[in-house]
Symmetry: C2
Subunit: 475 residues, 2 copies
């Protein structure tokens, strides 16, 4: 452990980590509040689990030191191997397994940070927030329909209009794998590779299913090693269901003889019917049989989303059914299904779509301290404003300069400034400066300096009209 020997510490965050300054954090809180409202209306209950887990909880009992190094894992107190969670679903499975008296099905939501050692990049951090919804303890396909309905409710609740929730079932692809004579133990790899279809394109997927390929940065990517005829079957399927027409019918005609595929097709038909009964707009969801998702543990329906105005954001809300996850812990199957929001990616999308505005401040009024002798009077005004429910603050800085106090309000983004000098006190009046008005006209800093001093953006009114005036202005 090398240590610095200088006295001062450089004020920096760890590589791949970040802070959320107030404007972004205000937006995040608003967004999370909206998502919570949407899913609570559907009966999802909040759960919070520990951030650190036993290494074997996250990795299973046969993990290696290398596996642990892929997480933020370490030897903690009492010599126990532990790691920060990299997602929320495994902790949910652990919670369900540990609470045999839990009422099932368990509808729960959880939001919180997860940590991954991935190489950081633009928009890719090592600490980020996920918001998960899951229903555990039922194999009923109605639960999968509820997850899709919740995804729709969340987007609608956030004011996003132009999106599509796409869904399919792993079972259809599992049947295809059987039909093509591909070995079962290659199934997870096939899913992982086919999942790249949208991002990497068909040629890359075909190459990776076979002998492998070289990616843009020149790195070798190992192939799954399927035979040409096996690859041809997969290609034929993907081509057929990508075309126009009813993809379920197409899948039936190709895989009608494979029982597991037929089960998957019937599941999708049931989901489609349930969504229609729930009156969900047909344009908001779509069966897309090229979707498989990359995670190894999915066993049935899988879900992802596309923001049609921002397709480059990828899927900001995805998931699927996982019927074997809890059996890592207990000797019985407790099936589950769910989906996860990448909170910060979705937030970036909302800002991009102007569905959410970045607010600089929560305070609406700054009470300035022009005459320190009158501080008790300023504090009384402050009290009045807050009692009236108007978020307000008094200038608590060291400066007595009124221009500096007004500049503070401008910089923080407080729209109104209250100025009361001895003249006003004598006349029973207050001056209210409206920093919002005309702000658009004065974007340049130099202009703003002038404008902050301007008299015409202020009113001087009777002190007992102050609250009424501000309430009117603030709507």
């Amino acid at each position: 452990m090398a240590k610095k020997k200088t006295d001062k510490v450089r004020p920096q965050v760890l590589k791949g980590f970040r802070d959320y300054p107030p404007p972004e954090q205000i937006a995040r809180e608003t967004m999370i509040g909206n998502v919570r409202s949407a899913v609570e209306l559907m009966g999802f209950l909040p759960l919070q689990t520990a951030s650190l887990e036993l290494a074997e909880t996250l990795l299973g009992s046969h993990y290696t030191d290398d596996n642990l190094a892929e997480l933020f894992g370490f030897v903690g107190p009492d010599d126990v191997n532990m790691a920060l969670r990299y997602e929320l679903t495994v902790s949910l499975a652990r919670y369900v397994a540990a609470n045999p008296n839990l009422a099932l099905p368990f509808r729960r939501y959880q939001y919180g940070n997860v940590w991954r050692v991935d190489k950081p990049g633009p928009g890719r951090y090592r600490e980020f927030m996920q918001f998960d919804i899951d229903i555990v303890g039922t194999s009923n396909i109605l639960a999968d329909a509820e997850i899709i309905a919740a995804m729709v409710a969340v987007f609608d609740g956030l004011g996003i209009n132009n999106y599509k929730v796409k869904y399919s079932s792993r079972k259809i692809m599992n049947g295809l794998i059987k039909f093509a004579g591909i070995d079962d133990n290659k199934a997870a790899d096939v899913m992982r590779v086919v999942d790249k279809l949208n991002k990497q394109g068909k040629d890359a997927v075909i190459a990776e299913l076979g002998a492998g390929r070289t990616d843009r940065s020149g790195d070798k990517i190992k192939g799954v090693g399927l035979t040409d005829s096996q690859i041809a079957e997969i290609e034929k399927f993907l081509d057929s269901v990508s075309g126009s027409g009813n993809s379920l019918e197409t899948a039936e005609s190709l895989l009608g003889s494979v029982q597991v595929s037929v089960e998957g097709i019937n599941d999708l038909k049931a989901i489609e019917s349930h969504l229609s009964s729930m009156n969900i707009d047909k344009n908001k969801t779509e069966i897309d049989l090229t979707i498989v998702r990359g995670l190894a543990y999915y066993t049935g329906p899988v879900f992802e989303t596309v923001l049609l105005d921002l397709p480059e954001f990828g899927s900001v809300f995805s998931g699927g059914r996982y019927d074997n996850l809890v059996s890592r812990f207990v000797g019985k199957q407790i099936p589950g299904t769910g989906a996860s929001i990448g909170v910060d990616r979705l937030l970036a999308a909302l800002i991009e779509l102007k569905a959410l505005k970045l607010e600089q401040s929560v305070s609406k009024v700054l009470v300035t301290v022009m005459d320190p002798e009158r501080l008790p009077d300023y504090l009384k005004m402050l009290h009045q404003l807050r009692e009236a429910g108007i978020p307000s603050e008094i200038f608590v800085g060291d400066s007595k300069n009124i221009t500096k106090q007004v500049k503070y309000a401008d910089k923080v983004g407080i729209p109104f400034v209250l100025i009361v000098g001895s003249n006003e006190f004598e006349a029973g009046q207050v001056t209210i400066k409206n920093l919002k008005a005309g702000k658009e006209k004065a974007k340049e800093t130099s202009e703003r300096e002038e404008w902050l001093k301007a008299e015409e953006i202020q009113v001087t009114i009777s002190a007992d009209k102050m609250l009424e005036y501000l309430k009117g202005e603030l709507g």
Copy 2:
């Protein structure tokens, strides 16, 4: 790193960690929402910082491996020493130092988990949440008054009535230390020991200021090594200001010749006057000169609280002024002041005080599936309920047994159950079972079994009256 060789993983949390099941998490969310509202009305802005920090950020540049082991610290990716934060203030100081263009004074709140390697015990966890409010970038004592005002606003907003925010200033005790001829480098230790006055009693404090003592479990506690006459000065001060009467006057008479004490006394007078101008109830705050707080970095006013009905909970909201914390990072002083809530301790207190009720469920209505053929009709009802803003769910479990479905609602805590069989459909009616009514009468499980089947706790009404009826019942 020893590893288990069995296949199944025991579903357990790490020692000192815990989950928050829905009833507690619902209560936490409600409480945090109320605290946020209270402090946002006062202009505090939300900030979120990274959970992991560089070791030197948390520990200063001269830390040892032992210091790192006192945190959840480890060598992370790229061979960097890092640790989970153990509080939020140091990260705030790091944030302020890294953002020289930040508008000051910076009023911010932050809530989030912190991690400590302390020995776990009843109510003491290694991961717990803090909610901090701070004002950074001003030495104006008005900022300290705002922190106290915010503490009062938070308690009031949570519906707690019988509490006292107590405050003092480190400067008074610093003057006493000088007056008693105690070496400056012992000041932090004196504060740490005097802070134990309320919990451990005067005898323990006196002993620990001198040669040391043996605690209840037989462990030796090292003493600060003050002389008898130095200890006598401290004892005299503590006795004098603990008595009835005006403790500021008492302090003035004892320490009027020591400049730093006089500064502290004047600070407290100013705070008292500001709080009065803000119209804060005199019974809610109190100057208590025996209060010093234990943390090394406080330099001025210090705050703590007592819940008068639950004094054994200790201070659930405490803090103070720290004028040198940011200088760990930059070569200038950026003074700050603030206070921190122990979220889970305060939550336990709220539940104990019955100021917050534990809710089992968010759903108000369970739509049962009596006749699977009529699923589309059940889903339409579900849609109607949600459209009307009534949190509702449909039974998505695998069982078709209506008694099991009703039991699910009872176990989760859903108050109303909708039951519609073919008879009701034909007659255009719905049956609504009220699981809340009479629930108090049937506390025993055996009684509840009977009661769940009882006919008298249900009504059968026209389907088009369903929403109206439920809205009436739900208030």
